[in-house]
């Protein structure tokens, strides 16, 4: 039991307690002299009253000291802090709002179940402790209840409400929930308490600022209970999962990169990181993890030609399982579309560069389809091209071409399109008017004797070479180049392939959102034998993969706790679809028309995608568990991967010293997982204002009575 003061600084005024004594002493200094003939009567009076009067005066002085002290004490707003729950007493029923953190990090296992389980036990104990007049509201940091009106529940209803609270894999919004609770705690209750149960993981609380609360009511006792801090943070987690390109293109490979983080104090050896595609284990990589260190892992996955690609990364089970999985799903869309520009269309088709390029890009597995659709145009046809239909452009020996097309090409690249610029006799940077490329040319040079190529140092893992395996360098060293246009990286470009004397021949760079490769030779047999070498097909496939991958698409994944949307053609407005969640729960949602505009976007709290205009869209707002949410319509195969937000892997708690600075006078108490009586961790703060006010009134009455008596 201890005191807290809302305005503790006022306690310095306790010095004023001695004011009555000071006044008394000053009055003694100001004593006046009078002569009195009837002195004898006064003397007898004084003798008669002295004993009683002296006692009465001492009592009066004491009462006045107490009155001044009480006034100062009262002004500093003392609050009596007692352990053992928040139930109301006597005439002061309590309204308690239990804020339960049900974010992903609360699933962390302790010796008595998860932190969430420990929290529920504590809240259950609070409900048991309620009196009949008390009321309780239960709200959560994740889910729709966070913003719902607080229901003031009796004990029986509170038990039922607590049973409905469940663990989620979402990210909490503690500031919003606490603010909501502060604003809605019943003003009718004699005592109002808000008890926030949380692990205070960084992911949720790092940005929490008490001053951000719009309304701070000092009459509401806000306390924070840190759940099972002794359980620690030892955990393996997948972080920074990235997939490139995303979504994957039909028939193309993409990489899944992630970092595996060891939060434990011990080194972990050979931790298996598994990649599942569909339900089949595709690959396992074992990593060694030093304490508090992260190791990268990377998987390469070949996308199917059509249908849905879904799978997951998985770590071994540990304290916090929700960070051990990462789900991904994508519908395989259209194949890449490449525009091949022939800059020298007069030549015979077998001598044409486009012949070799198109054949290389059209290569397909046996019985399969090529992942790339090519379209060849001559340079003089460029004015008729619809640029937005293509994912990338391969320009071969392009010399003279329409000025309008030059501008269109640049715009195409800056918006995210890819460009492979192959030089030749006709082509030069100056004649092409392409001063924005990442490599500059210096005019053709004949190499005598011919030279081979090598991959620039440190660029062996570049996606352009991803189809060459580990022996890509050997393939290039077998090439012969008789004539080149020497390049020089510019505007952020860098060399990927070069002559043995380090003269750049292939330069890569970015222009706007697009990727550009500048090839310093031809794509036919005039200057090099590349087009007839085995390396040409996988090289061009890598080029295609790299350039086409820069296109951004719509990913079918979402964070747990957020709503996700499913789009469909406008004709499906009004149609209902059934969604099955990871716990096999099913729910129907309905397509509605979505028209673009900021108001509608605000209304449902979602960001509009590029194709938002005139589409049918259905929102699913109950996805608070990680996993796959499947659309069950027979003719439709659609997966949405839902993962715990990346921030939920930051489970180490915020520094309590920092937190206390933010919370200043607020309470933060620890609730151990094995505490037999959780109520001990929950404080009750009794406002002593009324009692002190009554005491002050009593003192005034007594003082007036005694003063009148004297």
């Amino acid at each position: 039991m201890s005191f807290q003061f809302l305005h503790g600084a006022l306690l310095w005024g306790m010095g004023l307690v001695f004011l009555p004594i000071l006044i008394h002493l000053l009055r003694r200094r100001l004593v006046r002299r009078h002569r009195l003939p009837t002195f004898e009567f006064l003397l007898r009076t004084q003798r008669r009253i002295t004993n009683r009067s002296r006692l009465r005066n001492w009592i009066l002085l004491f009462l006045r000291l107490c009155a001044v002290g009480l006034i100062i004490f009262l002004a500093s707003r003392p609050l009596l802090e007692t352990e053992g729950g928040v139930a109301g007493v006597g005439w002061f029923p309590a309204h308690t709002v239990a804020v339960i953190d049900n974010s992903a990090s609360m699933a962390f296992q302790t010796e008595k179940g998860s932190r969430f389980d420990v929290t529920k036990r504590a809240v259950r104990r609070m409900i048991e402790d309620m009196s009949d007049a008390d009321r309780m509201s239960i709200t959560m940091t994740v889910g729709e209840s966070a913003a719902a009106p607080l229901k003031e529940l009796k004990r029986k209803d509170a038990f039922a409400a607590l049973e409905q609270v469940h663990q989620t894999d979402g990210k909490g919004a503690p500031a919003r929930v606490v603010q909501h609770a502060l604003e809605n705690a019943s003003p009718k209750a004699g005592r109002r308490n808000i008890v926030v149960f949380s692990d205070f993981a960084r992911g949720d609380w790092e940005s929490f600022q008490i001053r951000n609360l719009k309304q701070w009511n000092p009459h509401v006792h806000l306390q924070f209970v840190r759940v099972a801090p002794e359980a620690g943070v030892e955990d393996l987690s997948l972080r920074d999962v990235k997939m490139k390109p995303w979504p994957p293109k039909a028939g193309f490979s993409f990489t899944i990169g992630a970092r595996v983080f060891n939060r434990g104090e011990e080194k972990k050896s050979k931790v298996p990181v598994k990649l599942y595609v569909g339900e089949e284990l595709q690959e396992t990589i074992e990593v060694d993890l030093d304490p508090n260190e992260a190791s990268p892992v990377s998987f390469r996955v070949n996308a199917p030609e059509k249908g849905v690609l879904y799978g997951r990364l998985e770590l071994p089970e540990d304290n916090l399982s929700t960070t051990n999985w990462f789900y991904f799903a994508a519908g395989i869309g259209k194949r890449l579309r490449a525009l091949v520009i022939d800059g020298d269309p007069k030549r015979g088709i077998q001598d044409s560069e486009t012949f070799f390029v198109v054949n290389a890009l059209s290569a397909a597995p046996l019985g399969g389809e090529s992942p790339v659709l090519t379209h060849v145009v001559a340079s003089y046809e460029l004015n008729k091209v619809g640029w937005d239909e293509y994912d990338y452009v391969i320009a071969c020996n392009l010399g003279r071409w329409p000025a309008q097309a030059k501008q269109q090409l640049r715009s195409f690249v800056e918006k995210g399109g890819g460009l492979f610029w192959a030089t030749g006799e006709l082509s030069s940077e100056k004649s092409a008017g392409l001063g924005w490329l990442p490599g500059t040319t210096r005019g053709p040079v004949t190499l005598r004797p011919s030279r081979s190529l090598k991959i620039a140092q440190g660029e062996g893992a570049h996606p352009v070479f991803s189809f060459l395996g580990t022996s890509g360098g050997r393939f290039f060293s077998a090439l012969r180049l008789a004539r080149i246009t020497p390049l020089e990286p510019a505007r952020g470009g860098r060399t990927l392939l070069e002559l043995p004397d380090d003269t750049p021949v292939l330069v890569v760079g970015s222009v706007g959102a697009g990727r550009v490769l500048v090839w310093g030779s031809t794509c036919d047999r005039d200057w090099t034998d590349l087009a007839v070498r085995p390396v040409f097909v996988p090289f061009m496939r890598g080029v295609s993969d790299f350039l086409g991958g820069s296109r951004k698409g719509v990913s079918s994944s979402a964070d747990a706790g957020d709503a996700f949307e499913i789009r469909a053609p406008i004709r499906r407005v009004g149609e209902a679809i059934q969604i099955r969640g990871p716990a096999q729960e099913e729910r129907a949602i309905q397509f509605m028309e979505k028209t673009p505009g900021p108001e509608s976007a605000r209304a449902d709290g979602l960001r509009l995608g590029k194709s938002g205009g005139g589409a049918a869209v259905a929102y699913y707002r109950g996805a608070d568990r990680a996993g796959f949410y499947r659309v069950l319509t027979p003719d439709e195969k659609h997966f949405v991967a839902v993962n715990a937000p990346a921030s939920e892997s930051k489970i180490s708690p915020v520094e309590m010293s920092t937190f206390k600075e933010k919370l200043e006078k607020l309470d933060v108490r620890d609730l151990p997982a094995n505490d037999s009586d959780p109520l001990r961790s929950i404080l009750s703060l009794i406002d002593l204002g009324v009692l002190l006010f009554l005491a002050l009134g009593g003192i005034f009455v007594a003082e007036a009575f005694l003063a009148d008596r004297t």
Binding site: R27, R32, R33, L36, P37, T38, F41, T45, S53
Partner: protein, 297 residues
């Protein structure tokens, strides 16, 4: 001090139509409005005085009327209705006053007015100015010039020392050969038992006793506030008191004292009159004489 200060014209003008009548038949030699047991032996002419209504016609000096054309009455030295003794307290406690007049000044003024009144009726008036251990005495005479002697006696006294009013009263009682009027003007801050004893003796000797109990308004009301050091005016004693605290019990004790004095006087047949120095001087005197005239004609 100017002797006229004790003769406020307003006071005198208001008293001129009133007559003092003795309550009892007193021993005297005069033939006047007062009834006397012994008829007078008065023979020594002293002076004429103007006739005033009530004087018997036979006392008019017709010869003088023929000579001066005015009604004059012969005044003899022995012609007295009453022997009056004014006993005025001149202790240090009487030298106190919150207003323009100290208690002694008030008492002296009152005594002078009484003397003037009594001498105007040819009564003999004597004076005793009481001090702690000895008194200043002026023997009673009824001639008008005697007033100046009385006034001089009052003026000569300086209030000082302790109270000796009871002793003075006893001395007067022992000294008096005839019954008469004894007027005590004092604050009576003496031993109450001694005062009672003296009064009793005066009454036993058949004197008509009037007590003017003079107190200042400060003594009666105790108007002080806050913490105050009170000094005794007759001794070196002092005490520090919280005025608000002691006021009520002090006033209670004072009231108790006044009530006891009043009761004792009533028991002895003494006319007791409490006079505050805040009261106009004449008002108390008129009220007293009016009461006297109604009840003792």
């Amino acid at each position: 001090m100017n002797t006229d200060q004790y003769f406020d014209p307003l006071v005198i003008s208001r008293l001129s139509n009133l007559q003092l009548r003795a309550r009892h038949v007193v021993e005297g030699l005069m033939s006047g409005v007062h009834r006397s047991r012994s008829r007078g032996f008065s023979v020594d002419f002293e002076e004429h005085r103007a006739y005033s209504p009530g004087d018997e016609l036979r006392h008019i000096d017709w010869k003088a009327y023929g000579k001066f054309d005015r009604y004059l009455v012969k005044q003899y030295e022995d012609e007295t209705n009453l022997y009056a003794h004014l006993v005025v307290d001149a202790s240090a406690s009487m030298d106190f006053g919150d207003g323009p007049l100290s208690k002694y000044a008030y008492a002296a003024t009152l005594s002078s007015a009484m003397a003037h009144l009594l001498l105007g009726q040819s009564d003999s008036v004597g004076l005793v100015v009481s001090h702690e251990f000895e008194d200043m005495q002026v023997p009673p005479k009824s001639i008008r010039k005697h007033l100046l002697t009385l006034l001089a006696g009052l003026q000569a006294a300086t209030p000082s020392g302790g109270t000796g009013i009871a002793r003075s009263m006893l001395a007067v009682a022992e000294r008096l050969k005839r019954r008469g009027l004894v007027v005590i003007v004092s604050d009576l801050l003496d031993d109450p038992e001694a005062v009672e004893k003296a009064l009793k003796l005066l009454c036993l000797k058949g004197n008509d006793v009037i007590v003017f109990h003079i107190l200042d308004s400060v003594e009666l009301e105790f108007p002080f506030e806050g913490l105050a050091r009170m000094d005794d005016v007759e001794t070196d004693r002092n005490i520090t008191v919280e005025c608000e605290v002691v006021k009520r019990p002090y006033l209670g004790l004072l009231e108790e004292f006044l009530e006891q004095t009043r009761e004792r006087c009533a028991d002895l047949g003494v006319d007791y009159h409490l006079v505050s120095t805040a009261e106009p001087l004449d008002r108390g005197l008129i009220r007293f004489l009016a009461w006297r005239s109604r009840s003792r004609v």
